[in-house]
Each structure stands twice: as C-alpha cells, then as structure tokens.
C-alpha cells in the first residue's frame, strides 16, 4: 500500500509520522513567517479571512466529520463569539487576551446546551434543531438593545497592554498563529482517546455505547469543542472586521462552513484546512475573473453577491455526487499513485 512500517504504537500515534512530513511542515511554517513581506495588503487580507475560516471549519469538522452530528447552526456560534467579544471589550473594557477565550467559552457553554437535545435527536432532527437555533440567535441579535440589532456594532481594535494591532501584517501573525494552534489542538484531540470515541460514535453509536463509551458525555463534548472553535473564529472575525451586523451571521455562513468541510473532506483536519482555504478563496477568484471581464461586460461585477451562495451550493452538490471524500480524498489518491508508481498498488 505504500505505507511506512511502524513497529510501536507510539510511532503509529505520532503527530509527525515521517521525516518528510516534518520537512514539509517546516517549509510551510517558514513560508507563513515570511509571507507578510512578500504579499500585497489585499492578498494578506484574503489570507487572514482564510485563517479565521480555518479555525471555524476545523471546529465544525470535529463535530460533523468526526462525531457525525450534523450542525446547520455553526454561524450562530460564530455570531455568539463575535458579539461576546465585541461587548466584553467595548462595553466592559475587558482586554482582548481575556475576551478571546471568554468568547470561545461563551459559545461553548451555549453549544453544550444545544448538544443536550442531540442525545435524543439524530440526523434530520438534529439538522433542523441546529438550523432553528441559528435562526433564533439571529433573531435575538436583531432585537436586543445590547447587540444594537440592525445598526451593527463597532468593535475595538485588538490591544495587548499598550501594543495595539492595526496593520494587516500584524493581524496575519496573530490569526495565523492562532489557526496553527487550533489545528494542533484538533489534531491532538483527534488522535487521543476522545477523538477515537468521536469516530466510534459517528460510525455506529449503538455499538459505541455497547463498548462502554458514554454517548452523552462525548456528544455534548463534541458540541462544546466545536462551538468553542466557532466562538474563537467569531471573536477574531469581529476584531478583524471591526464592525459586525447580524447579516454577517445568517444561514449562508453556516452553509459556507458546511461547504468547507465537505469540499475538504469529512473527518480529516487537513481536509478542513484545504476546504476553508478553497471556499474562502473562491469569491475572490470570481471577483478577480469578473474584474478582467469588467471592461467588456460591466454587468458582471454586481453578480458576485448573487453568485457566491449558488456556487457554494453547486460545489457541495458536485462534491457529494462525484468525490465524497473531498480534496483530502483526491490528495490521498494522487499520493498513493505516485508512491506506488509504476505499479497499481
């Protein structure tokens, strides 16, 4: 199969399995470090958006890809994180290093509550429950004076003591390091006992329960962890955009997150990263393309808003129909092909 020989459990569970993985990751880290000095401000802003999306998508994949619990309400948790941090830093004067984990915890707390019905609900019912939760959160944000509804809310810049983050480059280092941290945590979670319990629940919940896995504990935990990630992503998004309105967090954001993990590959961390990068990148590529045609077809430039959601939908449908494993599946196939070349296996 072209795999590498492992002689101990420790090796099999290792985070960095081969020398080449270490080398490539090292190169990637180096690239991340020097990227801000090579790219333009616009390109950096796209990378920042991608970084935030990576955090949210990894969280959703832990819930949906690993534990198999469908959530159509990820945007609600992102919103909770964003507004929590906005209110904490703006109205209560709490510094950002504290409000970041707090917004994650706030989302996680509500995630635990949403997780409780998941003990009784499966598949469709859970999808609907989370969808309804998303609508209710959106409604509350609209109608509560604290969140300033339709008017939107200004969010303060990030400050660490006297040092405040302003430029795109500084944001990049903050977001990238948090995204890397999020990926490492998720990877560690996935290879630990908890991650294996998640997968067991996804594959066959009754069998998992028979084996002694507490369904209640791990399902609720999955919801909590996933919501925590979403909350952190929301907090970063709020501080990065510095202006949040309820419309940012509607159903289309939830669908975008679903698209990310499906395109990337369900149940893989690398997949969620790839998916987040691709789905966040697509609107920018379309903008780029329509810019080229703007001279000859001026009507094109306005289409992007209309097209975005439809293209996400199309990508979801096509991926599920033709490549259910997503980008990660393609990557694995290509890798296997070259590893065993010129043999078939």
């Amino acid at each position: 199969m072209g795999g590498s020989l492992k002689v101990s459990y420790r090796e099999d569970m290792g985070l960095l399995q081969t020398l080449w993985v270490k080398v490539w990751l090292g190169i990637l880290l180096l690239l991340l470090l020097i990227a801000p000095y090579l790219l333009s401000r616009y390109q950096l802003s796209i990378l920042n958006e991608m970084g935030i999306a990576v955090i949210g998508a990894v969280g959703l994949n832990l819930l949906t890809g690993y534990t198999g619990q469908i959530s159509l309400g990820q945007a609600a948790f992102v919103a909770i994180g964003a507004y929590t941090s906005g209110i904490l830093t703006g109205k209560a004067g709490i510094p950002f290093p504290l409000s970041l984990p707090l917004s994650g915890l706030m989302a996680a707390g509500l995630g635990l509550i949403v997780g409780i019905p998941s003990l009784r609900l499966k598949g469709l019912y859970l999808a609907l429950g989370t969808l309804a939760f998303g609508f209710i959160v959106e409604y509350i944000i609209f109608h509560w004076d604290l969140t300033q509804g339709d008017m939107g809310m200004a969010v303060k810049t990030i400050t660490f003591g006297d040092f405040s983050i302003k430029s795109e480059r500084q944001y990049f280092y903050l977001i990238a390091s948090l995204a890397v941290l999020a990926i490492i945590c998720a990877k560690n979670l996935a290879r630990s006992k908890i991650g294996r319990c998640f997968v067991a629940i996804r594959d066959r919940d009754i069998a998992a329960e028979v084996m002694g896995i507490s369904l209640a504990k791990y399902k609720i935990m999955a919801f909590g962890v996933s919501a925590f990630y979403a909350g952190v992503a929301g907090c970063l998004m709020a501080h990065y955009q510095q202006w949040i309105v309820p419309g940012n967090f509607d159903i289309s954001l939830s669908i975008a997150y679903i698209a990310m993990i499906i395109v990337g590959g369900l149940g893989t961390i690398l997949g969620s990263v790839l998916g987040a990068i691709m789905i966040t990148g697509i609107p920018h590529w379309i903008t780029y393309l329509t810019d080229v045609f703007k001279e000859s077809y001026p009507a094109f430039s306005g289409l992007i808003v209309d097209l975005k959601l439809g293209i996400f939908g199309l990508i979801i449908v096509l991926t599920l129909l033709f490549e259910p494993q997503g980008l990660f599946g393609i990557y694995r196939r290509v890798k296997l092909y070259w590893k065993t070349w010129p043999y078939k296996y």
Partner: protein, 299 residues
Amino acid sequence: MEKIIEILINGLSTGVIYALLALGFVLIFKSTGIINFAQGELAMVGAFICYSFAMLMNFPYVLAVLIALAIGALLGGVIDLLFFRRMVGEPMFSTIVVTVGLASIVTCVSGLIWGHDVYSIQSPFTDKTVAIGNLVVSQGALYTIGLSIVLIALFIVFFNRSLLGIAMRGAAEDPDIAGLMGVNVNKIHVAAWAIGTMVAVLAGIFLAEQSFVRLSMSHTGIKAMAAAILGGMESIGGAILGGIIVGVVEGFAANYLSGMELGNFHFGDIKDVAAFAIMIIVLMIRPHGIFGKEKVERV
C-alpha cells in the same frame, strides 16, 4: 372574541399553506427517504413562474397557475434525475446536505433571473373581502383554506387507496424489496419528486396571494419543516395538524406579543421565530413529533 376568530381564520389560512408545504415534504420523504430542504425554494420558484406568466405576459390567472404547476412538476422530475438518482442508499447526511446545496443553487438562479425586488400577483381574489356577520375575511384566505382542504383530502385518499400511492409507501419502506415486488422504484421516485414539487409550487402561489413574491419567501419552507416535525415526519395527518398549529400560533404571537418589550429586548417580528421555538420545544419533549412513531433501531 371577534378578534380571536379573525386571528384564527387568518392563522388557519397561513397554516394550510404550511400544511401544504409540509405535505410535499412528507410526500418526498415517505417515498424516497430524502428530506428536502429546498421545499421552500421550490415554492418560491413556483410563485415567480406564476408571477411571470400572470403579470408579465398577461396570461389569465388560472392558466398561469396551471403552467406554473406543470413547470414545477417538470422541475421536480429533473431534480430527481440529475441529483438524487445516484444518491439512493447514501447516508442521510449526504442527502440532507445535497438538498441544502440545491436550495442555495435555486435561490441563486432565481436571484439572477428575477432579481431581489418585491412583486405581487393580481389574482381574481386580490383585495376582495367577505363579510360574515361582523367578521371581515379576505376572499383569498377562504379560497386558500377551501382548496387546501380538498387537496389534502385527495392526498390522503391517494396514499391509502391508489396503487401508485401504496407503491410509493412501499418504495420508501424498503426500496430493494419494493423493487423485487415489481415496483419500478426509479419511476416512483421521479413521480414523488414531481408531485412534491407541484404541491410546493401551489403552496408558493397561495403564499404569494397572501403576501408578496420575493426571494426571502423561501424561509417559509423551513417553517413548514417545523410543521412537519411537529406532526411527525411520517404522517400526513400530522403534517396538516402541525401546519395549522404553527400558522395559528404565529397569528397569535404576531397579534399579542409583537409590540412587547422585555427590559431592553424588543419582541418585534416574533412571528418569524415562533415556529422555530415551537419546533425546538417539540424536539426536546417528543423528538418524533405528535403522531410519529419511535423507530426501533436494529443492530
């Protein structure tokens, strides 16, 4: 008292629309096992098609409705052939997400064709009212209620008496065994999607009659899902009762709760989330709906 009856009748007229949408939903679910999250979007497309024919091309209203129904049936069949023919037997997650994707595609395409403006359809019932004693009720509402009741009765007969209806139920229960029994499962699926979409289109036209034609009317689909859940996904009677409950509760919420304030929280258009609140409560207490039966899982 009169106000309450008026609210009841208006609630009933939105309720039967939810019931119709929920019916189309249950219909597709019962025969293909697929939960169609795009039901509301299909209703919206139907309303837009009816609008295009009735208002832009000046067809007579009834003819426009019939054309919309025919196009809807065609659309449903095509959707099944294109997307769901190859999804038979896939896990529920995939089918649900495919319909979610389908919903956003439909919204996107309709946005491109008809734009984001708000339109209204002039029907023979627009702005006409009927006075019963002291009550003033719009003709459209009565007409909607009447037609829906007839349709719903037809569906119940169809599922319990006709060969196609029974074959549909069989195909949902177990596609493989139904196939062995001589049921053409593929044909059944196309038929279910066609009929389900047609019902959705009709609901969309009724909805347009009561309010406007616009992209956001597709949210009604999710409320209808709340209705279907309330009644239990498997049961037609449940879907109807669920729809009516949701409609009436919405009516009362809109009338009595809308203006209220709780501290610095304004209730505003609470009508729009009432359905979801009911749904979450029902899911917590009776996850399988009022009439749904709990499924025994075999290991």
